[in-house]
């Protein structure tokens, strides 16, 4: 892979996908496949399914690069959100008939995770990591159940035996802290509650 490709920004690589440049796809794969695969694997807990999700996402990006709209934010979080949604979808399809208790298995981030082993190098990933570690246990629990376990806030309330309003407040507070940590230099997310 040439130096220009290695040094190109995500936006430049996406633009090159539109002119059917496979080297650009290879470069994006090398940047994000590990993050996408790891995220999918942590949700579906099945290597073959995680591989399929990774392959489908990169091929969809190749076929329809115009689906990424730079005006709506950076590429990495957009792509990871797509990976998460697809993995949750696969999880729900597979577990539709299983009991809620079984769905909760593995719905939290592994405590042994090595913070130096960052998925995507960069300040944003580090900030999210630090903020998540700083959240109180209750906030962290609900955001993990929602994000990695694919539970709705109502399901979380039932599982934890707490009011739905409390779950919503905790999820919102956790997300606000993450958003504020990402935008430290910008105006904080205004929320009077």
């Amino acid at each position: 892979m040439d130096d220009d490709t290695l040094a190109a920004s995500d936006g430049e690589l996406i633009a090159r996908l539109r002119s059917r440049d496979r080297a650009a796809l290879a470069a994006l794969y090398d940047r994000y496949a590990r993050s996408v695969y790891s995220l999918a694997l942590s949700i579906v807990r099945d290597r073959a399914v995680a591989e399929d999700i990774t392959q489908e996402l990169f091929l969809q990006l190749w076929q329809y690069p115009e689906l990424y709209d730079a005006e709506r934010g950076r590429f990495a979080p957009w792509f990871l959100r797509a990976a998460r949604n697809r993995a949750i979808d696969a999880l729900r399809r597979r577990q539709r008939d299983r009991r809620l208790g079984e769905r909760l298995h593995g719905a939290s981030v592994d405590e042994r995770d090595d913070p130096d082993d960052a998925a995507v190098a960069g300040e944003e990933a580090a900030r999210v990591r630090r903020t998540l570690a700083d959240l109180d246990g209750e906030q962290r629990q609900v955001i993990e159940l929602a994000y990695f376990g694919g539970l709705t806030q109502r399901e979380i309330a039932e599982h934890l035996g707490i009011p739905l309003g409390t779950v919503k407040t905790r999820v919102r507070t956790a997300l606000r802290r993450l958003a504020d940590a990402l935008a430290r230099e910008r105006e904080p997310w205004s929320d009077t509650r």
């Binding site: 695969y37 995220l39 959100r81 994000y147 919102r172 993450l178």
Partner: protein, 248 residues
């Protein structure tokens, strides 16, 4: 400026980003987002936080062969070859499906042969056993009154949906098919983007027999993966009433 609106809408925006809003609520919020820059910015930040949250999991390397598979599939998947074939009528549609299966086989030649054979067989089987068909009707003023045809076997769980006349979805969105159960619950039927002429041919797998469903709907959802629950404007749909059909 519009900070008051943002504060009021923060809970709703979070639920929207998590895909938990009821369709009617999501549609109302989507309309609000079109005109409210402050809420759009807030949603962007919530979505960005959700995206970066995906980086905190333990990291594992995907198998090296996956990279080769992705690049090989991309090499064989020139956009025109990935576009789905269109055909009018059942036999023509069956032919189109076999063609699609063949192109898929070329594009993903590394996949196991039996899986490909299974895929082609599935499509052919659906059309061979279909005993019910209904029109998919456009529900937006800009669309034709009929945008396609649904073929299914009432006691089975698979269907073929052939569509035409759909405009390219707006930037950053895809079409998503929803299967509507008898109790009104919606199930994800997959995302798609029609070809340059607005055509798409979908093979759909339901979670239960079609007798426990009462219709389908198509919405516009965020690309590339669509939504966990329908959040966008419904553009087309169909419905059926088995009881009325049986008694007729």
């Amino acid at each position: 400026m519009e900070r008051h609106a943002l504060s009021e809408r923060a809970p709703e925006l979070v639920e929207y980003a998590l895909g938990e809003l009821e369709p009617a609520e999501a549609e109302r919020l989507a309309r609000h987002l079109e005109t409210c820059a402050a809420c759009r910015e807030a949603l962007r930040r919530i979505e960005e936080a959700l995206g970066w949250l995906g980086t905190v999991v333990p990291q594992h390397d995907p198998p090296p062969a996956l990279r080769a598979r992705v690049l090989a599939a991309a090499g064989g998947s020139d956009r025109s070859r990935w576009r789905l074939a269109w055909a009018r009528g059942l036999l023509a549609a069956a032919f189109g499906l076999l063609l699609v299966a063949l192109l898929f086989a070329v594009a993903r030649a590394d996949r196991r042969a039996e899986e490909l054979a299974g895929r082609a067989m599935t499509a052919a089987e659906v059309l061979a056993t279909a005993d019910w068909s209904t029109e998919m009707r456009g529900e937006q003023p800009s669309l034709p009154s009929v945008v396609g045809q649904v073929y299914l076997e009432r006691e089975g769980q698979r269907a073929v949906v052939a569509l035409e006349g759909l405009p390219a979805p707006a930037r950053g969105t895809v079409y998503q098919l929803w299967l509507i159960r008898g109790d009104g619950q919606r199930e994800d039927g997959g995302v798609f983007v029609p070809d340059a002429r607005g055509r798409a041919l979908l093979v759909v797998e339901a979670a239960a027999a079609w007798t426990s469903y009462r219709g389908m709907g198509i919405t516009r959802e965020p690309a590339p993966g669509g939504s966990l629950q329908s959040t966008g404007t419904r553009v087309a749909g169909c419905s059926w009433d088995w009881e009325a059909w049986r008694s007729s």
